[in-house]
């Protein structure tokens, strides 16, 4: 019997089920989700600007931000009541599974450019919740995870410093001195680069430096290894990062707390933290 004939005989449901398609509800406009409604401002021009971020429309966002600035609206207000609301709604939809990474990246691009515009009027960098430093382990070229983290942090209102990939411990130490971050993230995708984390911790300790927590994650990184040294927390999903930072910022959590309360902090079951 030919391949085609075999195929015709099959009932796909007996073999593989696309539960995501099955579970997907009816289509809905992004702004109509109740969670989003709660976030978006009513007042103009903030509403329009936040919607432009929500719909990843960099060109119009920039245009309307400029217009608002021209009209003398405070850049701080534009950032806080417009741009950040928009990105907040984006993050919410991402967590809900309605939005996807590209949405987040494009909305993030739109937001970042618009913020820059505001800052140029403001004459300085706008305030963020705090600074987080991100790096990829020495010897490791895999940086996509780290790039996602940058975006999630920025969308979450943090200043995220990108040290790039294949970063020697000494450079991480410098960055800690320079930025005094409230949180740091390290990413390693290889068994043989995961060891860079302990080099970073050693180097920091030698200089008497401390960070509330260093989130260490990436494909090949194991929790048991990460937890074999101080200052570190094993990180699982890039979108957990702002939540971890929030816990440090708002609830004064440190690496020891985060190790214990990871699942609670990120608000979901995390297989790696199981039991």
């Amino acid at each position: 019997m030919s391949y085609k004939d075999l195929e015709e005989k099959m009932n796909q449901e007996k073999i593989a089920i696309r539960y995501n398609v099955v579970a997907e509800g009816a289509a809905m406009k992004a702004e109509d989700y109740p969670e989003v409604k709660e976030i978006l401002p009513e007042e103009e021009p903030f509403r329009t600007i936040s919607l432009e971020i929500l719909y990843e429309d960099k060109i119009n966002a920039l245009k309307d931000v400029k217009k608002a600035l021209d009209e003398g609206i405070s850049p701080i207000e534009i950032i806080n009541n417009g741009l950040m609301k928009g990105i907040d709604a984006v993050s919410t939809l991402y967590t809900k599974g309605v939005y996807f990474l590209p949405d987040l990246m494009l909305a993030g691009d739109a937001m970042m450019e618009s913020v820059k515009e505001c800052e140029s009027v403001l004459g300085r960098k706008s305030d963020t919740k705090g600074t987080v430093v991100c790096f990829v382990a020495e010897g490791d070229p895999h940086d996509i995870g780290k790039n996602l983290i940058l975006m999630f942090l920025r969308a979450g209102g943090y200043e995220a410093i990108d040290l790039g990939r294949d970063v020697p411990a000494a450079k991480v130490v410098e960055a800690v001195k320079e930025y005094d971050p409230i949180f740091m993230t390290g990413t390693a995708l290889m068994t043989t680069t995961m060891t860079a984390f302990s080099k970073v911790v050693d180097a920091l300790e030698q200089e008497g430096l401390e960070v509330p927590a260093i989130g260490c994650g990436g494909g090949a990184v194991r929790k048991d290894y990460v937890e074999s040294m101080p200052m570190t927390v094993y990180g699982v999903e890039a979108y957990h990062t702002p939540k971890l930072a929030d816990a440090i910022l708002n609830d004064n959590k440190n690496w020891e707390d985060l190790r214990k309360e990871y699942s609670d902090v990120v608000g979901e079951f995390v297989s790696e933290y199981a039991s």
Binding site: M1, L6, E7, K9, M10, N11, E13, K14, I15, A16, I17, R18, Y19, V22, A23, G219, A220, R222, K223, D224, F269, S271, E272, A274, S275
Partner: protein
Amino acid sequence: MKRFTKMEYESPDEMCFGFAKHPVKTRNGLEVGAGYVNPIIKVAPKEGSENSKESMVSECRNIAISACQRAVNIGLPSFILEQEHIAQQTANPDWAGECTQAQVEVLEHFQDEYGIKTALKATPADIRDEEKGSTYRTSEQYQNVMESIEQCCENGASIICIETTGGKSVSDYGISRGDPRALLFGIGVLGSIDMEFMWTEIVKICDKHNVIPGGDTNCSQSNTAMFLAGGLLDKDCSHTFAAIARGIGAANSLVAVECGAKGPLKDCGYENPIVKAISGVPIATEGKNAVCAHSDLMGNLIAGICDCWSNESVYHREEMGGTTPEVWLQATGFEAALMNTSIETGKHKDLRDLYTLTDKYRDPQALILAYDNAYRIGEAIVEYGDDPYRRSIAAALEVCNIITEAVEAKKMQLTRFEQDSLESAMRSFKKLPDDSAKFIKRANRRYGRKVEDFDPKNYELN
């Protein structure tokens, strides 16, 4: 009790994975042996989780969540979670109950949310111990086993299994010494007596709660032989001798079915193809996707006529590809998907034959479990079905015949060690009396002397 004196299948060719003469259906609608193969995932609790009931319950829950998440993420239509309980869970039946409840909750949650079909197979531990003199039929340990089973039933398990250990002290002696009579006595006689006792009770409990009494396995005996036999280059137990143990093991595991076990029989029962041939109950097996737990020489062959496909066991920890409940469910799930595709397209018998032929001559232990040979051993067993002793001899001799024929046909190669132990076993089996009472009397004396732990009282033999 109904002994099997004829085969449920008309011919070996009638048997195939995914299909059992007597399928079973769980409360949640998951079916076994009804035209598709279910993957099984089984994960050993982490070190330290044994320290308290709370940590064990949470460990069990977490294993279930991870498995469910991966299952929906890769689109499996169904799967079975098996939890083999450790001694602490059985010695404290409330642990067994709460662990079961936690896992059932998770499975049902995912079934509700996504429609994926799930079932929990709970396997309390046989914590009776001849060495310690904790008797097989009255001790507190025995009571706890039964109470744990009850707890699992009450808390929503779909299927109950167990690995009983009757006759183990004698068979251990026999396996390490290459003594065929000890094998026969330990597995075929003592094991069968104990299994009858245990399963009569277990089936009662399951029936009361409307839970499926799954099955038992000759793990404690034939698997011990298989593990000692090891790989082709290992030198602890002859592979022909291990094959003989397996044949007798089938006569033993069959007893659970005779007492009312409905399947799926336990995954580690490599003798299951023989038991299925005889009885038509669905079986679980494990092979090439159980490399995490052990190396066998029939990793494909043993899938030939399975109804559930298992990973046997794995540490609960992280791999690069995810946590082990995720990774290993994907492994068994993808293999089951292949089998199910072959069923859907009507090519299942071809795939069965490929699985079988891949390993048929890899090792004598594989050879005798090829479904055609398994069927032959089944026939030998049912011929003397009424007498556990004589059917065990018949199984052993048929194993010897099958191997000898393959050697003569130049299809199977044996080492001298294997050839010698095969011949010497055959000789001793042929010299045995027909009368089981006579054999039991002699064996009781002989092994009562040689095997310190063995206590005939446990089998009501004195």
